[in-house]
Symmetry: C2
Subunit: 198 residues, 2 copies
């Protein structure tokens, strides 16, 4: 499949079949992509940060880790990862987070609004949007538990490749928030690859 | 209101009106209680660990912090807390987590099954159970992100008091898992108090 570009501050949704790989690329560097996953046969089954933290026994997911559903089933396996810094603690940016964190800046519907629009044709409602797996997002947690959102460490061409462990509906964005990408809104590229050694 | 006891390895659900306080007590010490909250007027609005981490800017919630919903609204404010160690990363223990973590022990439906049964009369389905706020649960995260579940530090009589910021349906358990309470299954006490200075 050819590379598809997600324009700055927008989103996409598409099917990913069991065994296929999804490659998400940061074409310019320093950008975040929020990823959601739903069971294509029953969208009430979706990505769960809590189940993933439970089974992987870490909040830092990279090569070799799997992302789990709210029904305790693996959805995606991280096959390749040139960055190793992603976030699974935070929810997609939204009108409300813009008002809260950037009261002096224009309000944007954010990744939440972009995901809601892209996922609607698959029968997924806004309330069914859980915490996203925030690819390339750089969120250190200090020993007291305090969270900070820093610019991503990803460079142009950095990539994460994930293999589907069931038939999925994927939601994917080029992030809209100021903090997560250092104030520079950039595109995100992705492509779907057939089952191959990885 | 009198104290209500949740027997070991079981759960309860009840309404908590805006302004009322919920007090959760560890009567014997070393026990965990999984808490869920739903908007009583529309149960599609529920507790969100990600929104809470976003707005409170920490994964360690205690006195003064608020617990937020998936619609970016505060649901509960922590008014008093004698322990200061709770978990909001992990999902309720379930048949699947028992099979995964304790393959040689009898399978139990866990807090997940207990919450699902208690919440069913309020129209809440199992798939709508998010990450719980796991009161008194002791889950250190090291600098590499690795999670460990240790016995709670709570002593007999320790308490957390939370005030409702909207009309809620609450789900509450006395935890069923081995790791979270050091293998000793104990009860949890709770009571609802009217609006008072706190």
């Amino acid at each position: 499949m050819n590379m598809t570009r997600i324009p700055p501050r927008s989103g996409a949704a598409f099917r990913l079949l069991k065994g296929q790989f999804l490659e998400v690329i940061d074409p310019e560097g320093g950008q975040v992509s929020d990823l959601l996953a739903y069971n294509a046969d029953d969208v009430r089954e979706c990505l769960s940060n809590g189940r993933t933290f439970d089974y992987e026994e870490t909040i830092r997911l990279s090569e070799g880790n799997r992302l789990w559903s709210n029904r305790s089933r693996p959805m995606l396996r991280i096959a390749h990862d040139t960055v190793g810094s992603h976030d699974f603690l935070l929810t997609p940016c939204s009108e409300d987070t813009f008002k809260h964190f950037y009261p002096d800046k224009p309000v944007h519907r954010g990744c939440f609004g972009n995901l809601a629009e892209a996922l609607a044709p698959f029968g997924i409602e806004p309330d069914a949007i859980p915490c996203a797996f925030n690819i390339f997002m750089n969120v250190p947690v200090d020993q007291a538990g305090k969270i900070e959102v820093r610019p991503p460490t990803s460079k142009a061409g950095d990539v994460i490749r994930m293999q589907a462990e069931m038939d999925l509906v994927i939601g994917l964005t080029a992030c809209s928030a100021y903090a997560s990408n250092g104030g520079s809104f950039k595109p995100i590229d992705y492509r779907v690859l057939p089952d191959l050694p990885g």
